[in-house]
């Protein structure tokens, strides 16, 4: 339970709420209750943070897209430097990269890139790292919607597009998760006098 409560505080939840959740769980509330309450408290803290800092959210989105560009400039050549020599030596599909290469490589790359961007943006927007990066994650998800919409429409007429639709949805989800993981890593626990 302690890691969950620490995570909640990193997500900007009031330590008094964390204390109440610990107390209620200790007095017999189920783990499902604790998880549901924790999820709701984190979502409310994030939504509240976005609502209170609208201008900072816009700045975080701009910073995030610049960071995405810069991180991509570093990681894409690195990816090529690793991938191309391996393919030349016939390692493609040999299970070198996370067992399921080459399919595991791309999600790992997307996740690492998103986490790095989330961390950078979060570090530059403390103490509101998570709500502001959540705004960036929403903007990032919105940019993939036209492609997802197009692939959804295509999938209705041709089933071979379903695979591409799944890949696109997976990419959007990985971006959101990676950004939030990076933000949580960069955040400091909620500073409130109710914690000793």
């Amino acid at each position: 339970m302690s890691p969950l409560v620490s995570l909640l505080e990193r997500l900007g939840v009031d330590p008094a709420i964390a204390g109440d959740l610990i107390e209620e769980h200790a007095s017999g509330r189920s783990r499902t209750w604790l998880l549901w309450q924790s999820f709701a408290a984190a979502a409310q803290a994030t939504a509240g943070g976005i609502g209170q800092h609208k201008v900072l959210v816009i700045r975080a989105i701009l910073v995030g897209f610049v960071a995405l560009n810069l991180v991509s400039r570093v990681l894409i050549p690195l990816r090529g430097a690793i991938e191309i020599p391996l393919e030349r030596r016939g390692f493609a599909g040999a299970g070198l990269w996370f067992v399921f290469y080459p399919y595991g490589f791309v999600p790992t790359f997307v996740m690492v890139r998103a986490t790095a961007v989330g961390w950078i943006t979060g570090r530059l927007h403390r103490p509101y790292s998570v709500p502001l990066v959540a705004g960036l994650a929403m903007a990032s998800a919105l940019t993939t919607f036209p492609e997802i919409y197009r692939l959804s429409a295509d999938s209705l007429t041709n089933t071979r597009f379903i695979l591409y639709l799944c890949l696109q949805v997976g990419y959007a989800a990985l971006m959101v998760v990676g950004l939030l993981v990076g933000a949580a890593m960069s955040a400091t626990p909620s500073q409130d006098s109710s914690r000793s």
């Binding site: 008094a16 610990i22 107390e23 709701a40 000793s196």
Partner: protein
């Protein structure tokens, strides 16, 4: 609705704080609301309402001692201010005025 107006859930939280008295903190306020509504309440929502009420100066909080049972997190005790009591009374009068003379509701079978 004006910034000073009290919403339905905020009113429930305000009344729960009044009912509990001096020992009103998140858990007991939530239990009090659950007891009357017979529905589970999100502790986060209760705190969000408490925050809004505090911003309107209808309640105030003081910190209790941090205890090991709460993982070292202190309780936040809430009390209703004089302005909060006036707001609760005003809302009560407004609701009574609206209910007065209302004999039957459309579709009411009881």
């Amino acid at each position: 609705m004006s910034r000073e107006a009290v919403g339905a859930f905020e009113l429930m939280v305000l009344l729960a704080v009044l009912r509990v008295g001096q020992d009103a903190y998140g858990v007991v306020i939530s239990r009090e609301i659950e007891k009357s509504t017979k529905r589970p309440v999100l502790i986060g929502s209760v705190y969000a309402a408490l925050e809004r009420l505090e911003a309107k100066s209808l309640i105030r909080h003081r910190l209790g001692e941090a205890t090991p049972e709460r993982g070292g997190r202190a309780k936040k005790y809430f009390t209703v201010t004089a302005k909060g009591v006036r707001a609760a009374r005003k809302t009560q009068r407004q609701l009574i005025d609206l209910w007065t003379g209302l004999r039957a509701l459309p579709g009411d079978t009881t």
